[in-house]
């Protein structure tokens, strides 16, 4: 039994092929990935994958908000604390929600809260998941998927 081709898979699932870019493919893909980082799900929206875009647009910011609601902390970029630096990099993956939260001064975190560590986990993992979403949007823009 042979494996089904990528094109036949697109036909079977009714997925539109990636948009044809007139410029260098990698440049456009970087733009799509940047938009996907800034607003979770919008990269997939731009590429015509509306169902995926809606899910990411709702799920990732909600997960980030739940993390902040659980009194998780938005770590700052301190090179002297490597683990905090890693957490800050992961949280930065949330994009615009992260920037808005930092700008509004939200995310101080309350260490003594029972849900503090859960909040940190939610915020960090939502950022990491958005990074995966960005990479997926990049691959779709390049026509790999």
């Amino acid at each position: 039994m042979g494996r089904k081709s990528r094109e036949s898979r697109r036909v079977r699932v009714g997925v539109k092929p990636p948009q044809a870019f007139t410029g260098p493919g990698s440049g456009r893909a970087v733009v799509v990935a940047t938009i996907a980082w800034m607003i979770p799900g919008c990269g997939h929206f731009w590429l015509g994958r509306h169902q995926k875009g809606i899910v990411f647009l709702i799920a990732l910011p909600v997960m980030f908000a739940i993390g902040l609601g659980f009194e998780g902390r938005l770590f700052s970029f301190e090179a002297s604390q490597p683990l905090a630096l890693l957490a800050a990099i992961a949280e930065f993956g949330n994009g615009l929600p992260y920037l808005i939260a930092v700008g509004c001064g939200i995310g101080e975190g309350r260490v003594v809260a029972e849900t503090f560590e859960y909040g940190n986990t939610f915020v960090i993992v939502s950022g990491l998941l958005n990074m995966l979403v960005c990479l997926d949007a990049y691959d779709v823009a390049l026509g790999r998927k």
């Binding site: 898979r9 699932v13 997925v15 169902q51 995926k52 899910v55 990411f56 799920a59 990732l60 909600v62 997960m63 739940i66 659980f70 029972e114 849900t115 859960y118 986990t121 939610f122 993992v125 939502s126 998941l129 995966l132 979403v133 997926d136």
Partner: protein, 57 residues
């Protein structure tokens, strides 16, 4: 609402949702993978809890 178990369920739900939508294109496949991942997350967490139960804090 603020129980450890509920927080774990919520986390597993979100991660399963995002991974299933990311990895599959058809809604049926997404649902199957999402449910499988969710059950795996919760099952693994419960199993680990029982494994560590005999050990003191």
């Amino acid at each position: 609402m603020e129980s450890h178990f509920f927080s774990m369920l919520l986390f597993a739900g979100f991660v399963s949702l995002v991974f299933s939508v990311l990895m599959k294109d058809e809604p049926g496949d997404q649902l199957r993978l999402g449910v499988t991942l969710f059950i795996s997350f919760v099952g693994a967490a419960v199993a680990l809890g029982w494994i560590f139960f005999p050990f003191p804090l």
